[in-house]
C-alpha cells in the first residue's frame, strides 16, 4: 500500500477505525480536537458504529466505561486537563477489569497551561491514572507511523489483558504530518465473538454483573491480586523500546516520544563529532524497559535523560539504573521543546570530565539537574 501524508491526530483516528473501534466518545480540546472531528466525519459512514460528542470528559470516560461493559471496542481521546477529569472513571474501568483505549495528546501544564506540545502527563499516565493500585499500558509513539501502528494494536492489547491502553503522544505528534502506511481493515466483532463477561442481556444464561465494588477486604484483595498478576504478565510480555548505537555508547540518551526522535538528530551530530553516544527510546512507558536499561547502565559512562517536562521518566530511570551510572537530566517545560543543538550542548558538557554540577541549575534556556548517584549523596 502506498504511503500517504497524514496528520497525527487524524491518522490515529483512522487507525482506530481500521482496528474496528465501534464506539468513540470525546470532548473537544486542543491539540487533540482533529481526532474527534475526524471521528465525527467518518464514524457515521459505518453502520453500527457510534460517534458521540459528550458533554464533558467526565461523561466521555463513563460512556466508554458503559460501552466497554458491553464488550464493545471503544475509545476516547483528550489532552491533559481533560485526562485529569477522566481519572475517576479510568480507575473504575481498571477496577472492573475492562478493556478500553485512551489517546492523550499532551499539552503544557499545569492547570490550563497552554496548547503547546509537552510530556508533562508522564506521571499521570504511568503512575496513577486515578486512585488505587493499577497501571494502564502506556505506549508512546515518536512518529505518525508508530502512532498508527500502536493505536491499531492497542485494541488487541486492551482486550487481551482487560486493561486500559493509553496512546501517549504530545501536541507535536498530534499536529504533524508524515507519510504513513495504513493497516488493513479489521472486522468488528460478531455477537458470538463478544467476550464471555460482556453485558449483552441475560438471554439463556444467568445474569452477569460488572463492578469495581467489593466491600470485604478479602474480596477486594483478590480483585487486586488478579489485577496485579495480569499486570505482571504485561510486564513480562509487553516491554518495548528502540535502541540506537548503544553497543559502544559512553553516554546513553534516554528519551521517549517526540523527544526520542529529536534525540536521534542530536545523537547523529554527536557521532559525527566522534562522541560515542547511544539512545534508548522507551516505547512502552508502562511497563518501563527497566531490565534493558539496567543492562545498558552497566556498560555506559553516563546517562542523560531528556524530556519535555521537569523530569518525570527520570524517576523510572533512576529506579532502573540502581546507581550503575550517573544520571543527568535536561528538560524544558511549558511547551518549550529541547532542540538538537541544546541536547548536543548537554552532551558536550557531560563528555568533558570532570563533571560537577549543582542540583538545580538553570543556565541558559533549559532546566537541567544532576539527578542521581554521587549527587544525591552530596545534597544537604
Amino acid at each position: 500500500m502506498a504511503k500517504e501524508l497524514w496528520k497525527g491526530n487524524e491518522a490515529i483516528a483512522e487507525a482506530a477505525l481500521r482496528a474496528g473501534v465501534e464506539a468513540y466518545f470525546g470532548y473537544p480540546i486542543t491539540p487533540q480536537t482533529e481526532l474527534l472531528e475526524y471521528m465525527a466525519r467518518e464514524m457515521p459512514k459505518y453502520p453500527g458504529r457510534v460517534f458521540l460528542q459528550a458533554e464533558s470528559e467526565l461523561a466521555a470516560v463513563n460512556m466508554v466505561y458503559g460501552a466497554a461493559c458491553g464488550g464493545v471496542r471503544t475509545m476516547s481521546s483528550s489532552s491533559s486537563p481533560g485526562i485529569s477529569l477522566m481519572s475517576e472513571g479510568l480507575s473504575y474501568i481498571a477496577g472492573t477489569e475492562l478493556p478500553a483505549v485512551l489517546v492523550d495528546i499532551m499539552r503544557g501544564g499545569p492547570g490550563l497551561g497552554n496548547i503547546q506540545p509537552s510530556q508533562s502527563d508522564y506521571f499521570q499516565m504511568t503512575k496513577s491514572l486515578g486512585h488505587g493500585d493499577y497501571h494502564a499500558l502506556v505506549l508512546a509513539p515518536s512518529t505518525v507511523q508508530e502512532a498508527v501502528d500502536l493505536t491499531y494494536e492497542s485494541f488487541e492489547l486492551a482486550e487481551k489483558y482487560r486493561t486500559v491502553v493509553v496512546i501517549l503522544a504530545d501536541g507535536a505528534i498530534g499536529q504533524m504530518m508524515e507519510p504513513v502506511e495504513l493497516p488493513p481493515w479489521r472486522e468488528t466483532l460478531t455477537e458470538a465473538q463478544r467476550p464471555d463477561w460482556a453485558l449483552r442481556g441475560a438471554k439463556g444464561r444467568p445474569h452477569r454483573t460488572l463492578t469495581s465494588l467489593n466491600l470485604t477486604p478479602e474480596g477486594l484483595e483478590q480483585t487486586n491480586l488478579r489485577l496485579q498478576a495480569r499486570l505482571a504478565t504485561v510486564q513480562r510480555n509487553e516491554v518495548r523500546w528502540e535502541e540506537e548505537m548503544t553497543e559502544d555508547a559512553e553516554l546513553l540518551l534516554v528519551a521517549f516520544g517526540t523527544m526520542g526522535r529529536i534525540c536521534k538528530t542530536a545523537l547523529r551530530a554527536a557521532r559525527r563529532k566522534g562522541q560515542k553516544v547511544g539512545l534508548l527510546r522507551p516505547i512502552s512507558l508502562w511497563p518501563f524497559p527497566e531490565q534493558r536499561l539496567y543492562e545498558l547502565a552497566g556498560k555506559t559512562q553516563h546517562i542523560l535523560v531528556v524530556e519535555m517536562n521537569a523530569g518525570q521518566m527520570l524517576l523510572d530511570v533512576q529506579a532502573a539504573v540502581q546507581g550503575r551510572a550517573p544520571i543527568d537530566f535536561y528538560g524544558r517545560m511549558g511547551g518549550m521543546i529541547p532542540l538538537p543543538d541544546e541536547i548536543n550542548e548537554q552532551i558536550d558538557r557531560l563528555m568533558a570530565p570532570p563533571i560537577s554540577q549543582p542540583e538545580l541549575n538553570q543556565s541558559g534556556n533549559g532546566y537541567h539537574r544532576h539527578a542521581a548517584a554521587a549527587a544525591v549523596a552530596s545534597r544537604a
Binding site: 501524508l5 503547546q116 504530518m177 507519510p179 538528530t265 538538537p340
Partner: protein
Amino acid sequence: MHEEIIISGFGGQGALFAGQLLAYAGMDSGKHVTWIPSYGPEMRGGTAHCTVVISDEPIGSPMVRNPSAVIALNLPSLDKYEGLVKPGGVLVYNSSLIERTVARDDIRVTPAPANAISMEETAPLLEGKPGDARLANVVMLGALVQATGMLPLEAIEAALAAHLPQRHRRWLGPNGHALRRGASIAEAVAL
C-alpha cells in the same frame, strides 16, 4: 540530501499549504518528510508558519532552529528568520511586501515579487476584478525549489495536481504558472 525548510507568513497567506505541497512532493519523490505547523500565541490571525524536513534518511527532529531554507512571506517573518538561516542556506522573501534588503552574505537570498505575480496570474479568472495575492505562496515555493534544487519542479506540480482541494480545481492552471514564474525568478538570480 537533508533539507530543513521554514515557511512563514501572515495567517491566510498560505504558508501551511505551501509547506504541505513541499512535503507531498518530497514524499512522492521517495524521500522521508515531516511537516509541522507552529502556533503563535494569537488565537486567530497573527502569523502562521510550518517546518518541513525532507531527507534521504529517517527524520529525527521535525523541528529546527536553523533551517537550511526559508520562505518569508511578510516582514515579521523575514525579521524573525533572517538571522537563523544556516550559513550556505537559502532565503526567499516576498519583495512585494518587503521593502528592505537582506544584509547577510553567507546565504543565498532571492527576493520574489510574489504578490505582484499572483495579481497578474489571478486576474484573468476573477472576471474583471483586479487580481489577488492568493498564489503568492506558490510563487515563493517555485523560487525556493529552484534556488535549492532540492526537488524537481515537476514534483511540486504533481503535488499540486493531486492535492489542490476540489473546490479550487479551476485554479490549477494559474498555480502552475505561478510556480514556474517563481522558479524563473530564482533562476535569474542564480545566474
